[in-house]
Subunit: 364 residues, 2 copies
């Protein structure tokens, strides 16, 4: 058995859960023991991941649950909508599966968010387990209990805070991840440095080549440290009343890029990566950070195979897209900005300054 | 100012709220003070209730909120679906309303359930206030935090537990209620007697004529006592792990009637009324209650203008419809049965016995 790291997520009302990180976890019987009992489990996956891992997971779960179904959704952010979610409900109701049924989200962030939202709302809530198979899902979306689907007018606009019973992050599943998705996951890993841990940022810079070469020990540390930081932030602010917003560094412009181009054109991590470069620039323009921080972050993001030049949508369109951001309040666009290496905060930014940054980076 | 009764709903994590019951509450400024601050409020109503009360409520809310919008949904249980819910989301996102926006549910149970579910899921949760204008909503659906929409395969199958900030039950709004809806509301009032308070059952029998004549003092007591009982049960079991299920007396067969005939054919209260007669009969067949209890309940329900003979859907169809009930577990159909006057519990009932009861009441 390879070593398994465990990150504990403390939450009130018996909603604590564990993130287990390691190689070989999918096939380890212990991964699936001690979960809520039920007459049936349902694996929700997508057409890319299901052929790789669904039958293996199903066989393992059959040691615990009398019945294990598999529901396969279309792949991609553009399918993170009500129609896909309803495929899960149609199956659950069509098979008359009861309110103890346990859902297993096998896939990336889209599968995790949709399965979590289905679990939050099916019969007003059934248990679910996250089995993230992408780096992005392992370091970010499977941790913290945010679930959602997109609406044509905005990303993740409909959802719920709903915690999983457990997260099983099997590092071996990253072997089948395309390079582009590995790089997109690295964007969220990089994010944790500037917002919370200057030392981690240095570590990423020193170990980026090993991460890109998929060195499993190095990937394992990156996943663990990312989950620890996210767990620490979420533990202090489960429902995003304040602190938790810092996890959205790079996401305000990132969401505008995704939504402006149409979901699925850029990967979420790519849009966030580019958004971080612009948010670093805004941090500088507001006098919070020196100019060389933007250059340092851009260099790291480029080395990770990620885009640093936003699509040319025009400043007006960007501003319009950012006004529906969930962080916006009464019309003012708010950004997570870096206040010092390892510390971030939410700042309302005047439209004119945003337009300057967009123009300086070729977006306008 | 007429007298206002207040029922306090105790819940953990600062989610306590008040139900205020009285005449003239819609126009009383105090009803709308002390709610969460926001740049905008949105009244969600339906095409029947909005013309009667939406502008009056809007004017009162404009004393508190800079902007108050009105969203009008189609009326009826058959519209309690994703398409109607999406009309609310389309408005909120189309107007770029932020996550502090307060929703006001102005109408009956359908409006309350849908507005509550919209509030639970818009940007992962915004505050909402219940303003129930039907007897059924005042005594039942606006209390307890259950929100939901229907799925073609089952009623209230998709939803969330989500508590309002306050409930304002203005007895004057019952003046515009059609008789059939008043009677349907009485079904849920009657329900509280057998499951929780034998004395209240006697009181209803003694005061039914005054209730039918819409005597406001008598209606006020019925609403208050119903809310107290529901609050007591919900306070002990917010998420329906056990005790709370007793509130579903009459609902297992009731939901099957609604779903089998198509939503909107029978009113919810009518279906529940008839379901209570059959559940009383099952309580007798299982040896829990004497036969004259069924007769007593049937007499009261008939006096209230409610149906006591179920539609002839056939036993097989009834059993099939009841198997997707949320209370069902691993295939066994479970009923809330009366164990003594004022006490109820959940019981798995064999299919053959259910078929007997259905046949004896002309449903098979």
């Amino acid at each position: 058995m390879p070593a398994t790291d465990t990150v504990h997520i403390p939450l009130p009302d018996d909603r604590d859960y564990e993130i287990r990180i390691g190689a070989g976890l999918l096939d380890a019987p212990a991964s699936w023991q001690g979960l809520p009992k039920a007459a049936a489990a349902v694996i929700v996956s997508n057409e890319t991941v299901a052929p790789l891992y669904a039958q293996r997971l199903r066989e393992r779960l059959l040691a615990v649950y009398p019945r294990v179904d598999v529901v396969v959704l279309p792949d991609g952010e553009q399918h993170k909508d009500w129609a896909s979610l309803n495929l899960v409900f149609d199956h659950l109701l069509g098979q008359a599966l009861d309110r103890k049924t346990v859902l297993f989200a096998l896939g990336g962030g889209v599968v995790g968010d949709m399965t979590g939202f289905a679990a939050a709302t099916y019969m007003r809530g059934v248990p679910f387990v996250q089995v993230p198979t992408t780096l992005l899902a392992q370091v970010d979306s499977s941790v913290g209990g945010k679930t959602a689907i997109n609406h044509p007018l905005g990303k993740n606009m409909l959802g719920a805070f709903y915690q999983p019973e457990r997260v099983i992050a099997d590092l071996d599943t990253l072997d089948t991840l395309p390079d582009r998705e590995l790089w997109a996951g690295l964007a969220e890993v990089i994010k944790y440095g500037p917002i919370a841990d200057a030392g981690f940022l240095c570590w990423i810079e020193d170990n980026l080549d090993a991460l890109l070469a998929r060195d499993k020990a190095v990937l394992g540390y990156a996943v663990r440290r990312s989950c620890e930081i996210k767990a620490d932030v979420v533990g202090q602010d489960e429902k995003e009343q304040g602190l938790r917003a810092i996890l959205n560094f790079g996401h305000t412009i990132g969401h505008a890029i995704e939504s402006g181009l149409g979901y699925g054109e850029w990967l979420h991590g790519e849009a966030v990566a580019c958004g971080m470069v612009l948010a670093a620039d805004l941090s500088h323009r507001l006098g919070l950070m020196p100019a060389d921080f933007t250059a340092r972050l851009r260099t790291l993001i480029e080395r990770a195979g990620l885009p640093v030049v936003p699509p040319r949508l025009g400043a007006e369109r960007y501003l319009q897209l950012m006004r529906v951001d969930k962080k916006a309040e009464a019309g003012a666009i708010r950004f997570v900005l870096i206040e010092a290496l390892g510390r971030a905060g939410l700042h309302a930014v005047p439209d004119a300054l945003i337009a300057d940054t967009l123009a300086a980076h070729g977006a306008a």
